[in-house]
């Protein structure tokens, strides 16, 4: 396992560097000038020169990239052109916010989706299964911004039961201190995610229930509750774990639509605004964070497989 982990970490580093190189090249290939995007329409040639010199944009691309990598290794992602603050500070401010919102909604989605998927599998073809399937498809096909606006219109604008905005505090503690503000964004993201997770879980559980070892367990007189928990749930989780691993980068990349609708600026809006204003340091810093999250999520999924399914071993993998 240790050798496997070392090998995977080595691969992860290669992947992250590859992503960075590609991102760096692509953002510089897009037409347009970062100086003009930042300084505005009245930027004079002199000011553009000053700007490019200040941010090292007048140096060869290879030199700029090496500088970025060297600084990034020291935890310094540079200074945002448009926000005039260190990128690491901006990420440190926004990442926990997204981690809380998206982590919480993902957790809640799993808590709802896993039993729901098994329930549907057990009741396969019955009214309850069909009803949950319809609900899942409706939620899955509904754009999250529309769902969010719908919830706001009903619960904030019409009924005045909940605030339309997410908490505006800077810290995670401050955000948690305003649970009412979290309800609508968390519910929006949870319900949209539930649909996907439950469909995976249902399909997987249907397959598991058809396995011989389930029949053996039942024939041995094991209570149905234990059959479902010990055998069906555990063996059906593998596809969900894969999806969950892929969800990790989404958690750190943010949810730009939800952030915008609920006035909760996080990583998603940070990256979007950087992309539209050619703010290279933020784009590269965010890409690095998302890249790391992607490989970590994948690694988590692989390790989780071995715990869930003893047949899986990575010694010779």
């Amino acid at each position: 396992m240790t050798a496997y982990l070392i090998r995977r970490i080595g691969q992860a580093i290669v992947v992250v560097v590859g992503v960075l190189v590609l991102t760096f090249l692509m953002i510089h290939l897009v037409p347009g000038s970062a100086a003009r995007a930042t300084l505005g329409t009245r930027a004079t040639a002199e000011r553009i020169t000053v700007f490019n010199a200040a941010y090292g944009l007048d140096r060869p691309l290879a030199s700029q990239f090496l500088t970025f990598v060297k600084q990034a290794a020291e935890g310094n992602f540079g200074t945002s052109y448009s926000m005039q603050q260190p990128v690491s500070t901006l990420i440190a401010q926004r990442l926990p916010r997204d981690g809380l919102l998206l982590g919480l909604s993902t957790l809640l989605a799993l808590v709802i989706a896993l039993p729901m998927g098994i329930f549907q599998a057990v009741r396969r073809g019955r009214v309850a299964d069909h009803a949950f399937t319809v609900v899942s498809f409706v939620l899955y096909s509904m754009p999250d911004f529309f769902f969010a606006l719908l919830l706001i219109a009903v619960f904030a604008v019409q009924l005045h039961l909940l605030p339309s905005e997410a908490p505006q505090a800077e810290s995670v503690g401050g955000i948690l201190a305003d649970p009412r503000g979290l309800v609508l964004p968390v519910v929006t993201l949870t319900l949209v995610s539930v649909a996907g997770f439950s469909r995976y879980m249902r399909t997987s559980a249907v397959n598991t229930l058809a396995q011989e070892y389930i029949q053996v367990a039942r024939s041995k007189g094991l209570p149905e509750r234990l059959v479902l928990r010990r055998h069906v749930l555990r063996n059906s989780l593998l596809p969900v774990i894969t999806v969950l691993g892929l969800q990790a980068p989404n958690i750190v990349a943010g949810a730009v639509i939800a952030e915008s609708v609920f006035n909760y600026p996080g990583m998603g809006l940070l990256f979007y605004q950087a992309a539209t204003s050619k703010d290279y340091p933020i784009m590269l810093g965010s890409t690095l964070v998302v890249g790391v999250a992607t490989v970590l999520g994948s690694l988590f999924a692989d390790i989780a497989y071995s715990f869930l399914d003893p047949r899986i071993r990575y010694v010779n993998a």
Partner: protein, 611 residues
């Protein structure tokens, strides 16, 4: 025109114009008062209370009022103006004039043929009790003199380079001898209105622990002080806590600043004029207008916010929730900038008759009525008739030189050798430079087809440009529309001139940025003069340069009219209507109206809740 003014006005764009206009026809809107003429509701004033203002899609990131050249965030001026007001305060209520009550001077006297300005400062105090003196003005002058190239509002040739000698005969008098005579209107409204007074007795040092002295009096010292203050000014965590920024002469002190852009002011207890009535003003950031409108409708604590005209149908509901709504004209000019040196169509756009034909085809009245529901300046020329009506010429007030007239447009093109194909593609059939030919650089078969790039994100702009495209087609002029986020758009638009028009930055043909803001004196400096900072399309005309200089250097009203009418006729840009701003405010909050087109609603010391 001064860049600082534009930064400030650009911030107003974010706050007032983003709030702005545009509207589909239809009812449902409540009563929207003209924010300029609407009288402030008077009632028994309640001392205290908090005013929460929506801050839309932007936030300040620099507090030292003299920001570096690499920082063009216009919202910074909004943050600092209540702390360190400019020497000259623009706008008095709804009037586009200098506000003498709020300005820091008691008199401004131009003499020696308008080459000398004698500024007498009011008896005024800093928040730490020290008096505001002429030394504070000299502190600013010395800093800028040594660091002008790293000041974001600097324009070569103007302040401080145009000052040949600055002296302080006494503690309240500053005498500036200028290198040449200036039009007092121009210099007061566009130059002195960008200069704050800063506390020399607290800021003239080179480090946090260094002693305050006369460091600014040497070039090296002024550079060191400037570097130190700029470094501190970028530390957002210290905005509300750094002792430097606690010394203010404005009506407010910053009490809190969060990393997400939320910030608040409390009254400056030692303010030298009438102190604020409310106890606190909070700026609450919003990512876009959608959550802002939702917050207003859900009964949040928002007291003042913008209203995009797409959402004008919400007016009635908002009014029933205790809000009032007012409109305010924006001092600026909305335009389509032609790139006269684009390799494909530059030669065509350099022809005045082509630009005239295109302007004749823009139905500005229809756009004002149908797209902006009447809330827009007609855009008859370079000077807004509504926001700065005192400077608008009779020609502009009468509808401008090119009222909507498709027949004239077609006739102009036909008279210059074009085969006009309505709703088709008009092409040049008579190349050459004769009076009845297409013009220099235009080949036979050249089509009147242009790409118009514009800033996305505003529904009314989409509708307006679709209307322009449709009406231009009447003379066979094809406009291909392409919208992009503002920053993406401007990143691809370089300044192109006859001497330099590289393909990398001059591939654009027509561009619409929204609008260009004006200070109090709405002349064309920087817009239409050769090499002007906002003259992206390379327009150059010696007569225009001369007329613009005449508005800067001479004080003749006729000189301004001559410039304005010439610009209106020559069409360095194609004129468009300019939307108004719409502001939503609590009805019980008095003093918000009449709205000042120049203050960006930053005069909250005048606001008070009625009981």
């Amino acid at each position: 025109m001064r860049v600082g003014q534009r930064l400030r006005a650009a911030a107003a764009a974010t706050a007032l114009a983003v709030l702005a206009v545009g509207c589909t026809a239809g009812g449902g809107s409540g009563a929207i008062s003209n924010g300029e003429s609407a009288g402030a509701k008077k009632g028994p004033v309640k001392q205290g209370g908090t005013v929460t203002i929506a801050e839309l899609a932007t936030q300040p990131d620099f507090i030292f009022p003299l920001a570096p050249a690499t920082n063009q965030n216009g919202w910074n001026v909004n943050l600092t103006q209540p702390l360190w007001p400019f020497l000259v305060y623009a706008g008095d209520g709804a009037d586009s004039v200098v506000n003498k009550d709020k300005s820091l001077f008691s008199s401004l006297v131009y003499s020696n043929g308008d080459k000398r300005i004698t500024i007498t400062l009011k008896s005024w105090n800093w928040s730490d009790g020290q008096p505001v003196t002429s030394r504070d003005f000299m502190f600013v002058y010395n800093l800028l003199k040594a660091n002008a190239s790293n000041w974001n509002a600097h324009l070569v040739g103007l302040f401080p380079e145009d000052v040949s000698k600055a002296s302080t005969p006494d503690a309240h008098t500053v005498v500036l001898d200028l290198t040449q005579a200036y039009n007092p209107d121009f210099y007061t409204d566009d130059v002195l209105s960008t200069i704050p007074l800063l506390p020399q007795h607290a800021w003239d040092k080179t480090s946090a622990t260094g002693a305050v002295g006369d460091n600014d009096t040497t070039t090296a010292g002024a550079k060191a002080v400037y570097t130190y203050l700029q470094k501190e000014g970028a530390q957002t965590t210290g905005f509300a806590t750094n002792p430097l920024w606690q010394v203010v002469d404005g009506p407010w002190k910053l009490s809190e600043f969060r990393s997400n852009g939320y910030y608040s002011y409390v009254p400056n207890a030692h303010y030298s004029a009438t102190k604020a009535t409310v106890d606190k003003v909070v700026f609450s950031p919003f990512t876009s207008d959608t959550p802002e409108i939702n917050a207003l409708r859900s009964g949040s604590s928002l007291d003042v916010a913008s209203l995009p005209l797409n959402d004008i149908k919400q007016a009635q509901a908002l009014e029933s929730s205790g809000y009032s709504i007012a409109s305010v004209p924006i001092p600026g000019v909305a335009e389509i900038q032609p790139n006269l040196y684009n390799s494909e169509v530059g030669a065509v756009l350099r022809q005045l008759y082509v630009r005239q034909a295109m302007e004749y085809l823009i139905d500005r009245k229809q756009i004002v009525d149908k797209v902006y529901n009447g809330y827009a300046d007609p855009g008859n020329g370079p000077v807004p008739v509504k926001a700065t009506g005192a400077w608008a010429s009779p020609l502009e007030k009468a509808g401008g030189p090119y009222p909507y007239d498709p027949a004239k447009a077609k006739a102009l093109l036909q008279a210059h050798g074009w085969n006009v194909v309505p709703d088709g593609t008009t092409t040049c059939v008579s190349p050459g430079t004769g009076s009845a030919q297409c013009g220099a650089g235009i080949n036979a078969g050249q089509a009147l087809t242009f790409n118009l790039a514009y800033s996305s994100g505003r529904a009314t702009t989409d509708v307006q440009n679709a209307a322009v495209k449709s009406s231009e087609a009447q003379a066979g002029i094809t406009i291909n529309l392409k919208s992009e986020p503002f920053n993406t758009l401007i990143s691809t638009i370089g300044t192109c001139t006859v001497a330099s028009h590289p393909a990398s930055g001059c591939g654009w043909q027509l561009a619409e940025f929204g609008y260009q803001p004006y200070p109090l004196y709405p002349n064309g400096t920087g817009f239409f003069d050769t090499g002007g900072s906002n003259n992206s399309g390379g327009y150059s005309d010696p007569k225009m340069d001369q007329l613009i200089k005449a508005t800067e250097y001479g004080s003749s009203t006729q000189a301004f009219t001559d410039y304005e009418d010439y610009a209106a006729q020559q069409l360095p840009w194609l004129w468009l209507p300019l939307r108004e701003g719409i502001l939503v405010y609590r009805t019980k909050l008095q003093g918000v109206v009449p709205l000042n087109p120049f203050s960006d609603g930053q005069n909250f010391e005048d606001w008070a809740y009625t009981s």
